[in-house]
């Protein structure tokens, strides 16, 4: 199939414009991270006057970035694993069973996407406080509190996407497993999950990114002990100098794991979306 000239022009223009739009901020981030402080305090330049890697060294001292990094890794990692497990069970139930309350559950879960965060921020905070005073589990100012919050944030979309994915896996496969003597859980583990790998990866990526990037709740629910990168990065601007070069270096460093992970697994993400969300 040949391509007409207008189509080719269209393609080149679109690709060129969007590439520039996409790349410029990333380019600025990378080059500014390699500038000495005087460069980022004066007029902007497209290239550092001298290339230096000092910002990458100094940024750990200006704010305790390393501890924020550890917090973010633990919180996002734990939230992702738990959210994935919970979403798998829930989506399996929705996809394979018809039971009372099924549609109520699906609708409610999806409509939580609509809730403005500011509406349940303070109530959630108060509920955490009450849990602490009645059960004694400390949730405010701990990583556990953030994990529980974040895993729930990604649940609705995860369940919805996975249920769609599971629907696409033929039930005959479950039956075959049952013939082999597996129970429903056996079918889930041995048949459905292996077949749903792209969907699982997509959900995991989504959950991780949600937790890694959350700002609103982190700004209220974190203390020194559990502060995540989302809030920690903003502390650079409260120093006596605005260290834009260090801010850019830190932004770069906190982005690299997520971006690489996402880009490596993006095919799975697209496949997961196609099968799940885009049936």
């Amino acid at each position: 199939m040949h391509e007409t000239t207008p189509a080719k022009v269209f393609r080149i223009v679109v690709v060129a414009v969007l590439t520039v739009f996409t790349v410029v901020p990333v380019y600025v981030m990378i080059t500014s991270a390699m500038k000495p402080l005087s460069d980022v305090q004066g007029a902007f330049t497209w290239w550092p006057s001298t290339v230096t890697f000092a910002p990458f060294v100094d940024m750990w001292k200006t704010v305790p970035l390393a501890s924020y990094f550890v917090n973010s890794v633990i919180v996002a990692g734990a939230a992702t694993i738990l959210s994935l497990i919970i979403a798998v069970f829930a989506s399996f139930a929705i996809s394979r069973y018809r039971f009372l309350g099924r549609s109520v559950f699906s609708t409610t879960v999806l409509s939580t996407q609509m809730f403005p965060g500011v509406l349940f921020l303070l109530p959630l905070f108060l509920i955490f406080v009450n849990i602490n005073s009645t059960v004694g589990i400390q949730l405010v100012g701990t990583r556990l509190g953030l994990v529980i919050t974040y895993l729930t944030f990604s649940l609705p979309f995860s369940i919805w996407m996975l249920a769609g994915y599971f629907d696409g896996i033929p039930r005959e496969l479950d039956e075959a497993a049952k013939v082999d003597g597996c129970g429903p859980m056996g079918a889930l583990m041995r048949v459905v999950l292996p077949a749903a790998r792209p969907g699982l990866i997509a959900v995991a990526i989504y959950s991780f990114m949600t937790s890694w990037g959350e700002v609103l709740f982190a700004s209220v629910m974190t203390t020194d002990a559990n502060r995540t990168l989302a809030v920690g990065l903003q502390l650079y601007s409260t120093q006596t100098n605005v260290y834009w070069n260090q801010i850019m270096a830190a932004s770069l460093v906190v982005s690299v794991p997520v971006v690489i992970g996402f880009l490596l697994l993006q095919r799975n993400f697209v496949a997961g979306l196609t099968a799940g969300a885009v049936k």
């Binding site: 734990a78 738990l82 129970g183 859980m185 409260t238 006596t240």
Partner: protein
């Protein structure tokens, strides 16, 4: 069945992993460190050049306190951007530290939450008596007629910092009236040098100068019933005068409209980009940290216009100490407050934090420049007026301060702000304060 067990185990393992991961954070500095009998939690505000610097300065003192009393202090230093939210969540949740630093302008507002322990006579005696504090400082402890809920810790006042070299090159003397300030600054403004720098994007700084300029005009922000009177001519003209530094006098770089905290203006001053700044005395450490010697600048009181009603040059600024009412270690907390406000600790902390003494009879030691010390001590003692000690004071800061942010933004992007515009904005601010009450 086996697989189901397996899945359950996996889930539990994952949970255990998280809780294990939290263990460290939990024990080390849980915000309600009030459980242990021999320890208290202290939230300190950021007074030094960085959060880390504060920790380094405070730790030896806290160790000394532990040695004397056996009480351990869990310290957390909190930046100003976070402090209000953190105090709010602590008030709301009751998961609070035992002792906390507050900006003294919030004292009456925070008092009205009833979350803080009133210092009654017994408590006052326990920390060494009310009379050990300078009266102006003690007056900021809470609303008049009630037991204060905070006591002074660090004293601060605004002063007009000027660059000695730039002034002598231009053949100028430091200004003694507002008019002189404007003409001097105009002479010093040329090219990329400006006469003045303002934190015009910081609502707290703007609100402070709305108050000081209004006070110089003899105007009050609240009437006797605690109702806002922002829209009075004295207040509006005071704001106009402050805005005009950028608008009509053009002696402030319009880029200052984006300065959302005082440190940026201090930077400009320390690096010789501007000839004057208005700042509290804690600017000293930042100026020196940015490479300007303490002998290279001088300080005079922020001057009032000629023939004005009052020569107020500052509000009574500073940091107070409060004890949370639900603290389970009130005795330990009182001991700690006593320790922090003792002459020895005060002397040790005033210098690194560049603060004025809040104790009677103490001499300022925050600077090695005796002239500067004298000027600030004088401003603090005789030319300072406390911000209104009413519950709605914080509302004044946020509504009026933010309105001024917008006015500066408008001026900076080429618009003009007329007296009528200010009247309208103040009317809105009054309504907002009324609605919040």
């Amino acid at each position: 069945m086996k697989i189901r067990t397996l899945a359950a185990t996996a889930a539990i393992a994952a949970l255990a992993l998280t809780t294990a991961g939290c263990g460290g954070g939990n024990n080390a500095s849980s915000p309600s460190g009030s459980s242990g009998g021999g320890s208290i939690t202290y939230w300190a505000s950021n007074q030094g050049t960085s959060l880390d610097n504060d920790k380094q300065v405070l730790t030896p003192q806290l160790e000394k306190f532990t040695q004397q009393t056996g009480i351990k202090v869990n310290l957390e230093v909190i930046g100003w951007n976070d402090l209000q939210t953190r105090i709010q969540t602590a008030v709301t949740s009751g998961q609070a530290p035992d002792v906390v630093n507050i900006g003294n302008t919030w004292a009456a507002s925070l008092q009205s939450t009833q979350a803080f322990m009133p210092f009654d006579d017994a408590a006052m005696t326990a920390i060494g008596g009310k009379d050990k504090f300078v009266k102006t400082a003690m007056d900021t402890g809470g609303a008049p007629g009630q037991d204060p809920t905070s006591v002074p810790l660090y004293g601060l006042a605004y002063g007009l910092y000027y660059n000695k070299a730039m002034f002598s090159t231009a053949g100028l003397k430091p200004p003694t009236t507002w008019e002189e300030l404007v003409t001097d600054a105009k002479k010093l403004t040329s090219g990329d040098k400006y006469g003045f720098a303002l934190a015009a994007g910081s609502y707290t700084e703007n609100a402070h100068f709305a108050f000081i300029d209004a006070a110089q005009n003899g105007a009050e922000l609240f009437d006797g019933d605690g109702k806002p009177t922002f829209n009075s001519d004295g207040v509006v003209n005071g704001i106009k005068r402050y805005l005009d530094l950028m608008q009509t006098d053009k002696l402030v770089n319009i880029a200052n409209a984006q300065y959302d905290n005082g440190t940026k203006a201090v930077n400009d001053f320390a690096t010789g980009k501007v000839a004057m700044i208005l700042n509290q005395n804690n600017a000293d450490s930042s100026i020196v940290a940015n490479g300007m010697k303490s002998s290279a600048y001088g300080v005079v009181p922020f001057p009032a216009p000629e023939g004005s009603a009052s020569d107020v040059a500052s509000h009574v600024a500073g940091i107070n100490l409060s004890i949370f009412d639900n603290s389970k270690n009130k005795d330990a907390a009182l001991k700690f407050v006593k320790f922090m406000t003792s002459p020895e600790t005060q002397t040790a902390l005033d210098k690194p934090f560049s603060s004025l003494p809040v104790l009677n009879g103490a001499t300022p030691n925050f600077t090695d420049n005796p002239e500067e010390a004298k000027t600030f001590a004088d401003i603090y003692a005789t030319k300072s007026k406390p911000l209104p000690l009413v519950p709605a004071e914080d509302q004044f800061e946020s509504t009026v301060g933010k309105a001024m942010n917008q006015m500066f933004a408008k001026i900076a992007s080429g618009g003009t702000v007329s007296t009528d515009d200010i009247h309208n904005a103040m009317k809105t601010a009054e309504q907002q304060v009324a609605a919040a009450g």
